[in-house]
């Protein structure tokens, strides 16, 4: 028996396996877009052939961070802004795991922004879902990095003087190799995009528009949405970096004007993942490091064999 026999196990997977027996009813507000992410993830996971015990879902702090409580798998509910560094190390430790990181717009684009840039730059093979509700939900509605310019809140009573972060464009500049935007109001597209993101070998960033009816917009404000990959009004090639960049720029501008564009914006299948890069340099083992601790025959290296230069 392998030490991690849940990994790559071949069996039928039932969607219901991803609903926890302990806290099956999420405590999100009625109408919250976060339900949409949960549902899409539960649907996508069996389709990529992964079972709960080979998935590690790492979340940040926020309403969004509760995702790991309502999704049955190995979970790590970390601290505000730090889901990505925890998640990417877990992937390096055991590449056999399906690693998904998730958190809010404040969590990922604000306090954790540095990690987002660098995780994208390094192109770790994982999926990153950002619940973008353009607001700080859990702390009761303050302005977030994606709130539109002029947005008023209790902490910005005169309106925000800042232009919002451009999540898609920034991710592209940083080096993510799969970038998409979807919305909770579009469950079929959402499931499909999450599936593609998880199947992608590299850093897949999904900016997921999640309405927050309690503090910000409700679902109606994200409808109608346009899928730029299907619409006749838009014609661009997501494998072409320049075209993707233009499409992202326009999408970000349009959202500020109230028009919701979604879809897969960028896919680079050529770029090796971080793990592959490191392995090519001989800086990472071929066998999962986590397995070694269970291999009774492994001959552990000793410092005693490094002492020549000290003599």
């Amino acid at each position: 028996m392998s030490a991690f026999s849940a990994i790559d196990e071949e069996r039928e997977i039932d969607r219901d396996e991803f609903t926890p027996g302990i806290e099956p009813q999420p405590t999100w507000c009625p109408g919250c877009g976060d339900f949409g992410v949960l549902k899409a993830l539960k649907q996508a996971m069996p389709e990529v052939g992964r079972t709960p015990e080979e998935v590690l879902l790492v979340t940040g702090i926020g309403c969004s961070g509760k995702l790991s409580s309502y999704f049955e798998s190995y979970g790590f509910h970390s601290i505000h802004g730090r889901a990505l560094p925890v998640a990417r190390a877990a992937k390096l430790a055991n590449p056999g795991l399906e690693v998904v990181a998730a958190g809010g717009d404040g969590d990922g684009y604000g306090i954790g922004g540095n990690h987002w840039i660098h995780t994208a730059r390094e192109n770790h093979d994982m999926t990153y879902i950002v619940f973008n509700n353009e607001i700080f939900g859990l702390t009761k509605g303050q302005t977030s990095p994606t709130s539109p310019k002029g947005h008023t809140s209790k902490t910005q009573p005169g309106g925000s003087a800042k232009d919002p972060v451009r999540p898609l464009s920034t991710s592209l500049q940083a080096g993510a190799s799969f970038i998409a935007r979807t919305a909770a109001v579009n469950p079929n597209q959402a499931k499909e995009i999450l599936k593609q993101a998880m199947e992608h070998d590299g850093f897949a960033h999904v900016d997921f528009l999640t309405q927050c009816p309690t503090w910000n917009k409700d679902a109606k404000q994200y409808v109608p949405y346009i899928d730029v990959n299907d619409s006749d009004d838009y014609d661009f090639d997501p494998t072409d970096r320049r075209e993707a960049a233009e499409m992202m720029f326009e999408t970000e501008n349009k959202l500020s004007e109230g028009e919701v564009l979604t879809g897969v914006y960028y896919v680079d299948e050529e770029r090796p993942s971080y793990q592959q890069e490191k392995q090519a340099l001989g800086e990472m083992p071929e066998e999962p490091l986590a397995d070694r601790y269970w291999d009774d025959d492994y001959e552990w290296e000793r410092s005693y064999d490094l002492l020549d230069k000290h003599k």
């Binding site: 028996m1 030490a3 991690f4 026999s5 849940a6 990994i7 196990e9 926890p20 027996g21 302990i22 806290e23 709960p52 015990e53 080979e54 590690l56 790492v58 509760k66 790991s68 409580s69 049955e72 798998s73 190995y74 979970g75 790590f76 509910h77 970390s78 601290i79 730090r82 560094p85 925890v86 998640a87 990417r88 190390a89 877990a90 992937k91 390096l92 430790a93 055991n94 056999g96 795991l97 540095n114 990690h115 840039i117 660098h118 800086e283 990472m284 066998e287 490091l289 986590a290 070694r292 601790y293 269970w294 552990w300 290296e301 000793r302 410092s303 005693y304 490094l306 000290h310 003599k311």
Partner: protein
């Protein structure tokens, strides 16, 4: 201290290759059978600035740097920027010769490179040499080096001259040179320079000074290692195969050694965007089943506060190292201090739940990081090794056999899949990761990918299967269980002989208490004081959390008075001791130093004499005395 010892100081500018030259010379002295100790002083800049390395070599064990030095090799600072007298930093060019000249012992030897230095520029040099009976040898080391090779090789010329003047054989030096990474041409040139310097000094000078190298022998093969080597090698032998970090002096040494070695062992080393990420990656790797570590120095460690708390709350095993330097803020990056004690014990919100060890020397660095990994994985708790710029850079010979040990990659209290099948599960199928009944507080742990082990790890308070809860009863049970682990660790470590170090006669009247890197300096002072007729012993404490209450209490009750020696301005360890023991305030006084230089044994000896003689004055202006409460 023996009279028969060499304390050789090589002084020059940063970037002049002094570190490697001195390391090779130290190895040669060690190979000849001597015990050696090296101490490095350098400024926080890359080129220029006064820097020196001191090698103390004796046929008796050397535990510390000595008092002052008896041989100065002044090379000249080839990157000096301020040749003017009125420059802010003074005349940099002559600093290798002028700086700390007061510490050169009477009868000492000075070799200086007259190709670069002009003794006339050192105030009253001739007069002082005469007054102190210094034996001065101006040599054109630069010229000699240029003749056979390149100017930078004047270091080698200086070593050749030294060997001739102290009666040391060239063979061990040549051996070390041959085994080093020097290429053919460079090696030949260095050899020629070494020989030539040796012979010309031997033939051209009558020397009548008393400084010489004693003869010694070792029972077994020795290796010259720093505290950083000890820490890195202990981690490797404990099965650590993942390190994440961000450079910061002096922690960078450990990070570098690990980054160079781990990939060759099929491990992973990650230099990341900042220290928050560094600690978070170590948490993530450990969570996924790999023995992982991270570390930093003061400011970087401050950034690790939140992930450290996350490891405490999620009970993720983790080892962090903190290499102190003088603070606050950027402080003095290349100077030692022990002022981060309280920071490391208490940083991060909530009640602390961690283990902290401060090794006393190079060998203890190795032993204690092994122990840190063992405790972390047995008890699912973060362990921290707290050391400093002194221990990180000072090297010393230790028995090679110290490292001849079985590796210990065991994952402690982590369950195998077979064990998971038999362990308790919630009826929903969730693994009961945080059961509150275990007596020692250690609940069973699983790893993602293991069948039947799924659970939620959360930085929020949680129930037995990991789900977030704010129920008062569950809260109390979890807090109590986590704290029980610390009590169990305290009991477990009580018998441990690599943590607390007792020194001196058991029935002594006076005691010294120190922690971490001051231990061996204090021990040397104890020897000297007992030699001078006093009755003194010492306890060097390494286990800072959980605090060894019984051991320290027994020690303190056995003495009349005790002086706590530490490198900070606010007597942090004395404060901790009083907080933990709740008494002995009237017995404890403090000897403190925080000028950027570690204690020398003489500081401690004189401090003791002055404090116990009742006048409360301490030596020079560089140490401070804080009397006992009620005095």
């Amino acid at each position: 201290m023996t009279d028969d010892e060499l304390i050789w100081r090589i002084a020059g500018g940063s970037g002049d290759g002094i570190a490697s030259t001195s390391q090779n010379f130290a190895k040669a002295l060690m190979r000849s059978g001597l015990d050696v100790f090296t101490h490095r002083h350098y400024p926080s800049r890359i080129r220029g600035g006064h820097t020196y390395v001191e090698i103390r070599a004796s046929d008796e064990p050397v535990k510390s740097r000595g008092d002052g030095y008896n041989f100065l090799l002044a090379l000249g600072d080839s990157f000096a920027r301020n040749p003017q007298e009125d420059a802010y930093y003074g005349v940099e060019e002559v600093k290798p010769l002028s700086e700390n000249l007061d510490d050169l012992r009477e009868g000492g030897v000075v070799v200086y490179d007259e190709g670069l230095l002009d003794a006339e520029e050192v105030p009253d040099f001739e007069q002082r040499a005469e007054d102190n009976d210094w034996h001065v040898y101006p040599l054109d080391l630069r010229g000699l080096a240029k003749e056979h090779g390149r100017e930078v090789m004047r270091n080698t010329a200086g070593v050749g001259a030294t060997a001739a003047l102290v009666g040391f054989d060239l063979d061990p030096i040549l051996d070390v040179m041959h085994e080093s990474k020097m290429s053919g041409d460079v090696l030949e040139a260095n050899e020629a320079i070494l020989q030539e310097a040796y012979e010309s000094v031997r033939d051209d000078y009558d020397h009548d000074h008393d400084v010489s190298v004693p003869e010694g022998s070792h029972d077994e093969e020795q290796v010259l290692v720093s505290g950083s080597d000890g820490i890195a090698y202990g981690a490797i032998d404990a099965g650590c195969r993942f390190i994440s970090g961000y450079p910061m002096t002096p922690w960078t040494d450990v990070f570098t050694i690990m980054s160079q070695n781990l990939p060759k062992m099929g491990g992973v080393a990650e230099q990341v965007e900042d220290e928050i990420a560094a600690a978070s990656l170590a948490v993530g790797a450990s969570h996924a089943g790999v023995k992982a570590m991270s570390g930093s120095s003061g400011g970087g460690f401050a950034l690790m506060s939140e992930p450290l708390g996350l490891a405490e709350m999620t009970e993720t095993p983790l080892v962090l190292v903190e290499a102190q330097r003088a603070g606050p803020s950027t402080g003095m990056p290349t100077k030692p201090e022990q002022a981060d004690l309280e920071h490391v014990l208490y940083t991060s919100q909530g009640d602390s739940n961690r283990v902290v060890f401060a090794p006393g020397n190079q060998a203890e660095s190795y032993e204690q990081i092994r122990r840190a990994f063992e405790v972390a994985w047995d008890y699912q708790i973060p362990s921290i090794i707290l050391y400093d710029q002194k221990l990180s850079g000072e090297t010393r010979n230790v028995d090679e056999s110290l490292f001849d040990r079985e590796p210990a990659p065991d994952l402690g209290s982590t369950l195998s899949e077979e064990e998971i099948q038999e362990a308790a599960h919630h009826h929903s199928g969730k693994f009961q990761r945080f059961q509150f009944d275990p007596e020692d507080g250690v609940s069973p742990r699983t790893i993602p990918g293991q069948k039947g082990g799924r659970y939620l790890a959360s930085g929020n308070e949680h129930n037995e299967s990991g789900h977030i809860t704010e129920d008062p009863q569950e809260r109390i049970k979890q807090v109590d269980r986590r704290l029980r682990k610390l009590e169990a660790i305290r009991d477990d470590l009580a018998e441990d002989d690599v943590l607390q170090t007792y020194y001196g006669p058991e029935d002594a009247d006076y005691g010294f208490l120190s922690w971490g890197s001051q231990q061996d300096t204090v021990e040397e002072a104890v020897d000297r004081l007992n030699g001078a007729g006093y009755s003194v012993k010492a306890l060097g404490v390494s286990q800072l959390m959980p605090y060894p209450r019984q051991e320290v209490s027994d020690f303190l009750s056995s003495v009349e008075e005790c002086i706590v020696v530490e490198m900070n301005a606010t007597a942090q360890f004395r404060g901790l001791t009083q907080k933990e023991l709740g008494r002995y305030g009237e017995k404890l006084s403090s000897l403190l130093k925080y000028n950027g230089n570690p204690f020398e044994p003489a500081d401690v000896v004189e401090g003791f004499e002055n404090i116990t003689s009742g006048d409360g004055e301490v030596p020079g202006d560089h140490t401070r005395y804080v009397p006992a409460a009620g005095d």
